[in-house]
Amino acid sequence: MIPIDEMVDGQGGVRPQWRHLLSVISELGHQELTGRRLQIALALSDQTGVLVPARLTGQGFPSADMRVSADALGMVCDPIPLILKGHEFAALEAGVVQRARLLEALVKDVYGERSVLKERLLPPSLVWANRGFLRGGHPDGGEKTGRFISSYAVDLVRETDGRWRVLGDRVERGNGIGLAIESRRQMARAVPEFFGGMEVRRLGSFLDRWQDSIQHAGFSNEANPSVALLTSGPSSPHWGEHVILARELACALVEAGDLTVREGDLWLKTVRGLRRVDVLLMRQDTTSIDPLELDSDGPGGVSGLLDAARSGSVKLMNDPRAGFVEAVGTAPFLPGLCRHFLGEELLLDNIETVWLGAPGASAFIEQLLFPSGGTDSLQSGRWAITSALGDDRKVHRLSVLDYSTRARLSEEINRNPWRYSAYREPLASVSPTVGDKGIVPRTVVLRLFAIHDNDGWSVLPGGIARVFGAEEPVTVEPIRVAQTIKDVWVTVDEHVSPREAPLTAHHRLTIRRAQGDLPSRAADDFFWLGRYLEQIERGARLLRVALGHISGSDPSPRERADFDVLSRQMQEIGILQQPLVPGYGLSSIVRGLSTAASADGYFARTLRKITRLVPELADRLTQDVRDYITHRANSLLDRLGQRAHPTDLGRALEQLVSISSELLVYNATLSGFAAESMVSSGGRQFLDLGRRIERASGVLLTCASILNQPDVHQRGRMEGALRLMLEVGDSVITYRSRYFSVVQPAPVLDLLLLDEDNPRGAGFQLAALRDSFSELAVESQTMPEAQRAMSLELAEFAEGIRETLAGLVDEVFHASSQDAAAAQLPPKLKEVQAAVIDLSDRIGRSYFSVLNSPRLVGIGNETALDESALTP
C-alpha cells in the first residue's frame, strides 16, 4: 500500500491542476523556495508577534533575529499549496455541511430529549462519561436557546482508495480560520508566481459573512454588539491564530482574567471601568469555563459566565456544551445518527474506528494487542488506541509498543473497555513540500471550516493542510508544538460556476465603530513598555555624557569629580556593575563602559524586556510600530553582541558612541510613532504614563545623585554639579537661552524640577501625569463612579508631588545661600522620587489589578470553608 500523491496520478503523470505549479516549482528551485518559506514565516511572525522556529533559518541567517527561537511556536507555512479541484471541493463541501447539521442535531438532542439514549442509538457511557458533556443548571424561567454550533472545523485525510475521510470534528475551538486567511495573504506576496495562470477561489467574503453573522448572534437588540474572543493567552500554541482572528473580526482579544460577570452580564475590565460583552467567541478549553458550575480543580474561567449565557445576556460561540461531539467514541455511531436525525446517508465517513465498549469487542481487543499468526486479519497492525470519551487525546500507537506495555494497556482496557476507541492509522495522501534538501512528498491532513448564518452553513473555499514529518504518524492528538501548514487552494473549474455566496444581495452590513477602551491587561503592558523605553533613553543619555567627559590621560580634579558622579549614577541605575576608577586610565574606563553595552548588559536586558512585551501587544500595535520595535531591537541587540577588539581603544570608544546614538534614535523614533500612528485604543496614553513616571523618577535621581558629593556647597563644586545636571538632563541649551552662562542653583532646579514647558524636566512629567489622569476621569456612561474617583485621586496625588517640588525649589530660591540650601536637597529629592514610584504602584492598583485571585469554596479546596457533614 502506498499513499496517494496529490500531485502525481500514480502512472507517471502530473495531475492537470498541478502542472502550472510544478513548472514554477522547478523554475524557482529548492533554495529559492526555502527562502520564500522563511519570508512567509517572518511575515506571519510580524502579524502575530509569535517567534519563528529556528530550524527554518538554516545556515547563514542572522540568528540574533529576535523573531527566531529554537522552541518557537510560530506557524510555518509551506510555500507550496495543496490544490483541490473545484468539483472535489464541492463534494467535500456537501459532506461538511451535512456533518455540521448532524452534530448540531446530536448536541441539541443530548442536552434535551436524549432520544439517542431512549432509542439506543448511542451507548449511555458515551454520553454520561463524555468529558464534553457539561452538567449546568437550568433557570426556572427557561433559558434562551440558540444554536449550539455556529462554527465548525473538520480534519480530513485522503486514504489510499482516493476518498476523503474524517479524522476528527472540531467544535470546541476549531482554530485555523485566521491562519488560513493570513497565509493566503502572505502567499500572494511571497510566491506570486504560483498564482499566475490559475484561478483560485477567494476567501474574503467568507470572513465578512462570519463577522456579519457574529454581529447578529447576540440576543440583545444592540445595533453594535460588542464581540470578544476568549483566548488562553500567549502561551497557547494558537495565540498567533487568535491575534489574527481578533484583528480580522475587529473584536477584542481577551483572557478569562480580563472578564467579569456582574448582575448577570458579562463585562470586560478596561482602564475606564467595565465594558459590556455581548458575544464571546470561545477559543479556550470550555470544560473549565465557569468554575462556579463546572467540575474544575481551580478557579480558572469566568465565574457566572454560564448564568449570563443562559439568561441571554451574552452569546457564547460555540456553546461550550457542543464540545461533546469531539469525543472519538461517537464516530462509529454517526451513520446511524445521521439516518435518525436527518434521514440521510452520511456523506463523509470517519476513518475506521471501533468503540471498544461495543459488545463482542473483547476478541477484537485481544487480536489487536496480541495478533496471532503471520498475516493477521487486521492488516499490518497500524492501529492506535485512544480515549473514546474525549478526556485525554493521548494516543497509544500499537506498532511501537513492546509486549509488556501492551499487556499493561490490555489490562487497563479490559477493566473499562468503554473508555477506549481504536482507530486504524490512516495512510493519508502526500503532497509536495519544501524539505531540508529538496522538494519532498509529505503527509497532509486537510482542515476545512464552516460557519452558520441566516442562510445556513457555508464552507470556506480553502483551508489549511497540516503537514506531517517524514516518519510522523497522522494522529488525532491536539497540536502542542509548532506545525507546518499549507494554504489550501480550490480551483475554479471551467464548467462549474462556484456557488459564491451572494453576500451583499442578502445582508446589509452593520456599521461598526472602534470600541475604544483598553483592557486593563493591555494597559499594564503599555505602561511597562513606556517605562522600559525611558530606561533605555536615560541610560543611553548617561552613557553619552560619560563618553563626552572622557578626556586625555591627565584629567583635572574637576573632570575627575564629574566622572566620579556619572559613574556612581550609572551604577545606581544598574548600567554599571562596578564603579569606574578614572585614575586607572582610559582602557579600564572603556572596558567598564563596554560592559554596559555588551550582549548581556543593561541595554540588551532592557531591549529584551521590550521585545518580550510585543507579542502580548501584537493585537494592539499597528504593524509599522510592531515591526520597528522588534526589528530595530533585534539589530541593536545584534550590535550589542559584537565586541570590538579589546586593545583597539579608539574603535571601542567609537562603537560606544555610535551605540548610544542608535539607542537614542530608536527611542525618538518610537516616540514619533506613538504620537502619530498609535491613536487607537488608548494604548498610547498608558505608554505615555509609563514614560512620564520613569522620566520624572530619573530626573529626581539625577539631581539627588549629582548634589550628593563632597564639598558641593562650595561655589566651584556647586557650579560644576549644576552644569552636569543640565547636561545629563539634556537641558543645557534651554538654560543657556534663558540665563546665558550664569549658573545658579534656583534657576537650574526650576528648569529641571518645575518648569512645565521643559519636556526633559520633572515638572513637565508631573503636569502631564496629572492631566492624563483627569482625562481618564472624564465622565462616561459606562464608567462606574468609583473608577472616576480613583482617577481624580491620582491626578491630585501627581499635583501634590509637583507642589512638594515647588516648595523645595522655593526654599532654595529664598535661601541666603542658594548653594548651601541646594546641598541639603538630596534626601528630600529621594523622598519625592519615592513618591513618584508610589504613584506608579497606585496606577497599577487603579487600572491594572484584577482584584484578588478568586477562591473556590464548598468542594474541598479550602477545608476551612467546607461544610463537613457530621452525624452525631
Binding site: V261, S303, G304, G858, E867
Partner: protein, 313 residues
Amino acid sequence: MISRPTIYCVRHTTSYAYGHPVDLAAHVLHLTPRDCPGQRVLKTSLECEPQPVRRETGTDHFGNRIVWLFHEEPHSRFDIVAFSEVEVSFPELPPVGMTLPWEEIVALAASDPEVSEYLFEGSMCPTSARVGDYVAQDFPVGRPVLEGLLALNERVFREFRFRSGVTSLRTKPEEVLDRGEGVCQDFTHLMLSGLRSLGLPARYMSGYIRTRPPQGQKRRLGADVSHAWVGVWLGPDYGWIGLDPTNGIVVRDEHVILGWGRDYGDISPVRGLILGGGGDTLRVGVDLVPCDEWYQDPELMKLGVFPPSALVE
C-alpha cells in the same frame, strides 16, 4: 402496612465570617429540598444576608432545586438560612427475595437511559476496583440485589468507625477503605465507588437525618449538620431506595432529601467562588424536628426565618 407520613420542619443555617472583606462572590446553593417519590415539599424559603444583586432559582442537571446568588458589594459576613416543611414517607422495602439477582440489575441499568448515568463517576469519587473487591464480598453469584445491598450497608456500618476530623471532602474512597474510619460522606463515597465498580448504579444523597437528644436532656439548637447517604436502584419495579451506612439503616421516615448527584461535587450545599476574604470561618447548624413539635416549642418558634445568629450562638 402504610405508615402515616411525617411532616418535618428543617432549618439549615450557613454563616461565613470573612477575616478580610469579600469583594465579589457567586454561589450555587443546594439547600432547597426537592419533590420525589416518598417526599413532598410543603413549604420552603431561603433568605440571605447581605442581599444579593442577583438571585436566580432553577434546577440542576439532576433535577435538584438550586439557587444562584451573586454579591458585588464588599461584605465581611455571609449568612444563609433555608427553612422548609417536608412530608416524608418512603415506601417499605420489598421482600428481599422479590428483587432481581444483582447481575440482572447490572444489565438493566446499563441500558436504562436515565439510571445509567449513576454508573459513572464524578470528579470527587473515583470508581475503584479495590473498593469494588471489598463490596463484592456481599454479592455472590445470583444473590438478590437487595439482600446484597442490605448486607453491605450493615457491614460498612459495623466495620467502619465514625470519626470526624480525620478525613476531608477530598479523601478518596480507597483511603477511607484503608483507614477504616471517616464521616458520612466518606462511607457514602466508599459505597458509591464499590457498587459502581460492580456495575451497580448508585447515587450520592444529600439531606438531613432526625436526631434525638440523649435521654432526659434538652435538645441543643442548631447542633446538627447536613447528612449524606447512598441511593441504590432495585430495578424498574421498585426503583430507588436509600441506604444510610453511617447509621446502618434504611431510609424510611427519619431522613429528608435535599437532592442527589454522582458524588458530593454535584450537590455541595453551598458552592461558591469568592474574591477576597482570608482567615475565614464557617458555621453550619441544622434543626430537623417534626412540625407538630416545632410549632409547640417556643424556643424553636423564636428562631423564625432570619437571622441565623439567634440559633447558632
